[in-house]
Amino acid sequence: MKIYRKRGMLTAAVLASALVLAACGDDADADDPDNGEAAPDEEEQPDDAAPVTITLAENAIRGGKNTEAAEWIEDSAIPEFENMMADEGVEVQVVFEGSGADDEDYKTTIALDLSTGGGPDVIGGFDGIWVGEFAQADYIQPLEEIHPDSSAWDGWDQIPEAVQENMSFEGQRYGIPGGTDGRVIYYNTELFAEAGLPEDWQPTSWAEILDAARALQQLDGVVPLQLNGGTAMGEATTMQGFLPLLVGTGAHIYDEDAGTWQGASPQMEQVLEFYAAVYGDEELGDPLLQQEAAGRDNSFLMFSEGEIGMLIEGDYLWRSVINPGSDLAPMENRDDVIGWAMIPAMEPGAGVNGQDFVSMSGGGGRVLNPNSDNPEVAWRLMEFLESPDALFERHADDPRITSRMDVNEQLIDDDMISFIAEEVLPITFYRPGLEEYPAVSIALQEATEAVVTGVSPEDAAAQYQSALEGIVGADNITD
């Protein structure tokens, strides 16, 4: 132990001087040589040459949001990493900064941290669509610039280009992607049976979804369909509600070739009309639930308790929310009761590329904080967390589509996750990773909210059009 500590000091000294040199050589690093990290060091080890302290943030917290991830990080990943580094003679202490906030609030926190030149060394739970705006704000930097050795990581060969793209901006990698996902319609087979609907169900048009909802409406105390709408649900409204419907009408929110955004087009109105069909007079969905501050969590709870018939969500719901081991809305009988179906286009063949079925995908990952005092060690931690061994351990009981092909081959044996990998990913679409996107997304949420609260689809579309003009300018809109 003593030897390690000495060696650790030596390494730390070498690292420190290397840092100083790096700081001299590179303007980007010279912004803030001394950030908040020094304080915890001194607190933990007041009288010793402090070990290297690395902070790791995730939007995960024990007993709350993404509890499996938090438990894995605290109970096994961190101790293993610390041991591994100690074996190499570097004494490292990893501090976990958990969080259980809504994604939007988490993003705000990170942005504020980074804007002051501080923040955790490794930032997880970083949604791919934030990369553009964070990079343009100079909050994050390409991995290669922070830590040149990062390009030599052998893991990159295992991550498909398209997935790397999730955490890239203008052709440069800003972080290691954690995986991807896909959206489907989940349904409760018990309720379906009660309503006389087939337990093996696959709608081929929006009309068939509405038909199923009408059948479910006959049951007492059941909300037939949960289609996220409104601003309270945040990005979940756009990602799980609006966009999967929009690509089902044959339109993209952003036309890459023309560089224009979708305005108040007929397709836009078709989507809003579907919202009106769900939340209008027939009340196939619960309009109040869309407006509650905790509406999304409540919808999860209701679904897990058999009070919602159909719910459109990503595989996050399956893995993390209604997983029998979850703390959010666990379902003991998940595997027996919950079925899933692909999201149909408005009519067969009406989707983008003439597709019959559509989905939306996203993905996040971890970025390396350019303000880190120890980018070398922080990068080692990122590498470690995305190593096959770590991923196997993390996802043993909680499988998902990771970013690594070598891991996915062995890991995915869960029916639901295989379905996403094999059936949904080939037909899925991604959001534009542009700076304007978050603001456009809010405008879309407001349009759905208007419809949910009784505004006509035409008026909501017109409101959206004027909001969009304020965001991207009238020239960049297709009607």
Partner: protein, 320 residues
């Protein structure tokens, strides 16, 4: 607000405080009454001035500067904000969301601060005068408890109370399924804020009522005056200064209060988006820091105006 009270009273300050010297005050007072000399006097004042400068004047000026930029939390405009002149302010004054928020804020302030906290606070203080010691202790403890508990705890209690599915209120009233926070959002946050802040008015009115000369009350009662008449002709004239003080403080606090956000998040839609919530949503949720700063400055100005009006009324009252 704190900046105005000293500056506003400064001209009359020395005269007021120099009570024993009043006879000389026909002539101009020697400005150096303490005999410190300019240099030493400045040295005494300097630390306070530095603090005020660093924590009050500088942030206010900084807000003024940010308000004329398009600074954002993320994106290009975060790295290199551009000067946009008065656009943010012009936007604000023509923006339905801003104007709506402003009128909602006034409804909220009048409903929860003036009509709610002050009237309720006074009523409790008045009733407690004649109540027994135990009764008084219990009531005051309860009211104070609502005041000293952290706002997040209170907000949580209210969420449970008003919950749509298993809420206490729905159980008591038998109104199952009523989503109070969605169907009566403004009423809910007004009730919440009354609950939260009545204690201050109650405390201040209790001590104010203690200062009403018992002889006057007794005389009024002997002449057969009823409660309303006593309040109007004896109590209120005696505690007018206190009423104004409570009014000023409670109005300003309520104007700036953010805790309703914990209950409704500003929703549904924008129905409980009072001014501080609007600024938070704009600046931190949408990331429009420049506009948020401009709105904040408008809010500071409104605060100053309210404070000035009250102080002027207060001073005129003192002069008469």
């Amino acid at each position: 607000m704190p900046t105005t009270s000293p500056t506003d009273q400064l001209p009359q300050g020395p005269r007021d405080s120099a009570g024993p010297l009043r006879r000389q005050s026909k002539r101009r007072l020697d400005p150096d009454a303490a005999g410190l000399g300019r240099a030493r006097a400045s040295a005494f004042v300097a630390p306070a001035m530095v603090l005020i400068g660093v924590f009050l004047v500088f942030p206010a000026l900084w807000t003024l500067y940010l308000g004329v930029t398009n600074w954002r939390l993320t994106g290009l405009a975060a790295a290199e904000p551009e000067f946009v002149g008065l656009d943010n302010y012009i936007d604000a004054l023509t923006d339905d969301r801003f104007l709506g928020s402003l009128s909602r804020t006034f409804v909220f302030v009048i409903g929860s601060a003036l009509a709610g906290q002050m009237v309720l606070g006074f009523t409790i203080a008045w009733l407690m005068r004649s109540a027994g010691k135990t009764m008084r202790g219990v009531v005051e403890t309860l009211v104070l408890l609502a005041w000293i508990l952290p706002a997040s705890v209170i907000a949580w209690l209210w969420l449970v109370l008003l919950d749509r599915r298993d809420g206490t209120l729905n159980m008591i009233l038998g109104t199952e399924g009523t989503a109070w926070l969605l169907e009566y959002p403004m009423q809910s946050i007004i009730a919440f804020n009354i609950f939260n802040g009545t204690a201050f008015s109650m405390l201040l009115f209790s001590s104010a009522l203690a200062s009403v000369p018992p002889s006057q009350l007794e005389t009024a009662r002997m002449s057969g005056a009823r409660t309303l008449a006593i309040l109007r002709d004896v109590v209120f004239p005696n505690i007018r200064g206190h009423i104004l003080t409570v009014m000023l403080l409670v109005t300003l606090w309520t104007f700036n209060v953010f805790t309703p956000f914990l209950l409704t998040g500003g929703g549904p839609g924008q129905e409980t988006e009072i001014f501080p919530v609007l600024i938070y949503r704009l600046a931190l949720q949408t990331g429009e820091l420049g506009r948020g700063a401009a709105f904040s400055l408008i809010m500071i100005v409104i605060n100053l105006v309210i404070a000035l009006i009250y102080l002027r009324v207060l001073r005129e009252r003192r002069h008469t």
